[in-house]
């Protein structure tokens, strides 16, 4: 988290998505509250349970909702100026509905014409967008005949067709089969590598974990944590990190590490060929393991953090807090 903030200090607000003390209430119901964020280019995932405020945050970013308090700027553009905002932004919503009677290609092209493009350019961009989501062959079929996964992809194609600098994707992997899902994630990575902002909400934590540069964890309308998954995990000092060490003498290793003040727990693995350690200071623990290896008494095969991923962070911060 601190790394992200350090970067943001040298980056201009005109290259970021900035939430300044944003709250949104639906009558008396809280959507999101007191959100302050600076989102840099790359893949940022919004994670949280249903009703946490992910879609509200995305809709606020896209100007579909107006904040009850605070302000939002996307690359320096206020969100209440759609005529400028959506030259830079594409939004793939969760709404599974389309204007009736259109083919996939007509759908994309029609809205590129609404952007103000001429027919030739609109045609060209719609073909490119269809290609990018592997729907070129199905582009001339009516959307009504598409499968759920195809509808998801045509929405994605529409969002990227005008080559935006910011892409908001609400549950973009829903309904996609594993193959297309992998292709779509690869596309996201490529777009992020090209310098785009990708804001993604997803329930599929392991996929979010592997593709995101940073995460924003939301719960009950509040931002619970933000930053890289590892950064967020490191800052959870009340949750000692779990590490699994595979070695030939786990009992001896347990005795060696247990007297250290940062080691909270050492437990033998069921197969007796490994040791689970919970430590408040992973860095010091790894230094300790270096010493153990150097001593040569114990042969260590592998060291793997067990709860240094998004699922664990999610469990500790969100499920733990609601339990």
């Amino acid at each position: 988290m601190s790394e992200t903030k350090a970067k943001s200090e040298v980056r201009s607000p005109n290259s970021e998505i900035v939430f300044d003390d944003v709250s949104k209430f639906y009558g008396e119901i809280l959507g999101v509250n007191r959100v302050n964020l600076q989102i840099a280019p790359g893949i940022t995932s919004l994670v949280g349970p249903n009703g946490a405020g992910k879609s509200t945050l995305m809709n606020l970013m896209a100007g579909l909702l107006r904040p009850s308090r605070g302000s939002i700027k996307v690359l320096g553009i206020p969100t209440h100026q759609p005529e400028q905002l959506f030259r830079k932004m594409g939004y793939c919503t969760q709404f599974d509905s389309f204007p009736r009677g259109l083919t996939g290609k007509e759908f994309i092209k029609s809205f590129l014409l609404v952007h103000g493009l001429d027919r030739k350019k609109a045609e060209e961009l719609s073909v490119t967008a269809l290609e990018r989501v592997s729907l070129l062959e199905a582009g001339n079929r009516k959307i009504a005949a598409y499968s759920k996964g195809m509808r998801q992809r045509i929405r994605l194609a529409q969002a990227i067709a005008h080559q935006p600098a910011v892409l908001i994707l609400d549950e973009p992997l829903n309904g996609l089969d594993p193959m297309v899902r992998a292709e779509t994630i690869a596309l996201f990575r490529k777009l992020a590598a090209d310098g785009l902002h990708l804001i993604i909400s997803s329930h599929i934590l392991h996929e979010v974990d592997t593709m995101s540069d940073r995460v924003i964890l939301l719960n009950n309308g509040y931002v619970v944590a933000e930053g890289s998954v590892h950064g967020v995990r490191d800052e959870m000092e009340d949750r000692p990190m779990q590490i699994l060490i595979r070695c030939d003498k786990p009992a001896k290793l347990a005795a060696r590490v247990f007297d250290k003040d940062h080691v909270v727990e050492a437990r033998l693995h069921d197969d007796k060929l490994g040791l689970f350690v919970r430590t408040r200071d992973a860095d010091r623990f790894y230094l300790l393991l270096n010493d153990v290896v150097a001593e040569g008494e114990i042969t260590i095969e592998s060291i793997a953090p067990v709860d240094d991923d998004l699922s664990a962070v999610y469990q500790y911060l969100i499920e733990g807090s609601s339990a």
Partner: protein
């Protein structure tokens, strides 16, 4: 400039399509330094292209969408009985006397075509321009486009207007021709080609067009302000029907008063009617157009602040 930022900037400047022939965007790149805000000419050519694109999408929906079935039924409603009657001279003294035909049509047009068919047809078309998209959960596609919402209002309004004018002007003209058909070509031919018939036909068509303009703007706004627009539509329907009973000042707060003022054949509104001077055409027509423009400004103001929350619809 950081390398990451330089990359993003290069990407933006290279890959963004040329949207704006003859128009420079105020914010043209993600530069570190705020762009110099210069007074820019209004991008009329861009707006016109966008209006055309919205119009094209909407007109297709208006004529071919599933909601158009009711519209065609409404437009055919007055034509059906006249088609049945047209080959014959109907019984009744008034149908024998050709000099009464202009009055028969004036009553039929004012009482049925204008006050019911055009009124409810416009209600259906214009209330659904935005409300229909909200119900279909497809309005966000427009809201997620770089188009001023005022431009969206204009594009949608014109699509509704062209639809309504096409259907109901056709209905008006066909109805008038069908009424006069039993006496064609003798008296009717002379009435249209040597008498006042053609002038009356064009005037009735003009009244229909003005009705579409006025009612259209009203129902567009109603569709934006009310979740259930049927109730305000019915209130206006009765207001328009009871217009003949109202004092002269209140009469002017209606569309029908100005339309009646333009009618080529004045129709008596009965013994209880409060008589008021008809408004001259040179006031009635611009008044309707000005009020329509004002109503569209209200609609633009409303749509500018509109949020998408389909869940609560």
């Amino acid at each position: 400039m950081s390398p990451l930022f330089a990359k993003a900037k290069a990407l933006t400047s290279q890959s963004t399509p040329n949207w704006n022939r003859g128009f420079t965007l105020m914010i043209s790149s993600t530069t570190e330094i705020s762009p110099v805000i210069r007074k820019q000419p209004l991008p009329w050519s861009l707006w016109l292209r966008q209006i055309r694109a919205v119009f094209r999408l909407e007109i297709e929906k208006n004529f071919l969408g599933r909601r158009s079935i009711l519209l065609y039924l409404l437009a055919l409603l007055p034509i059906g009985p006249l088609v049945l009657l047209a080959p014959f001279t109907p019984p009744g003294q008034e149908w024998q006397d050709f000099t009464q035909y202009h009055m028969i049509f004036a009553i039929f047009y004012g009482g049925f075509v204008l006050r019911t068919v055009v009124f409810f047809g416009c209600a259906w078309i214009f209330m659904n321009l935005f409300r229909g998209d909200i119900i279909d959960r497809s309005l966000h596609f427009y809201f997620l486009s770089p188009v001023r919402r005022e431009v969206l209002v204009v594009g949608k309004y014109f699509s509704g207007l062209v639809t309504a004018i096409f259907l109901f002007t056709a209905t008006t003209i066909i109805c008038m021709l069908l009424i006069y058909l039993p006496h064609f070509p003798s008296e009717s031919g002379r009435f249209f080609f040597d008498g006042p018939g053609m002038g009356q036909l064009l005037t009735y068509a003009g009244i229909t067009i003005l009705a579409c303009i006025g009612y259209g703007a009203f129902f567009l706004v109603v569709g934006l302000f009310f979740r259930n627009p049927i109730i305000p539509a019915i209130v206006l329907y009765f207001w328009e029907w009871l217009n003949f009973l109202m004092p002269p000042l209140l009469k002017k707060v209606s569309v029908i008063h100005y339309l009646n003022s333009l009618a080529p054949v004045p129709v008596s509104e009965g013994p209880f009617a409060v008589v008021a001077e008809p408004t001259p055409a040179w006031i009635a027509v611009p008044s309707l157009v000005i009020v329509t423009a004002l109503v569209l400004i209200v609609a633009s103001y409303r749509i500018r602040r509109m949020e998408i929350s389909y869940g609560s619809e």
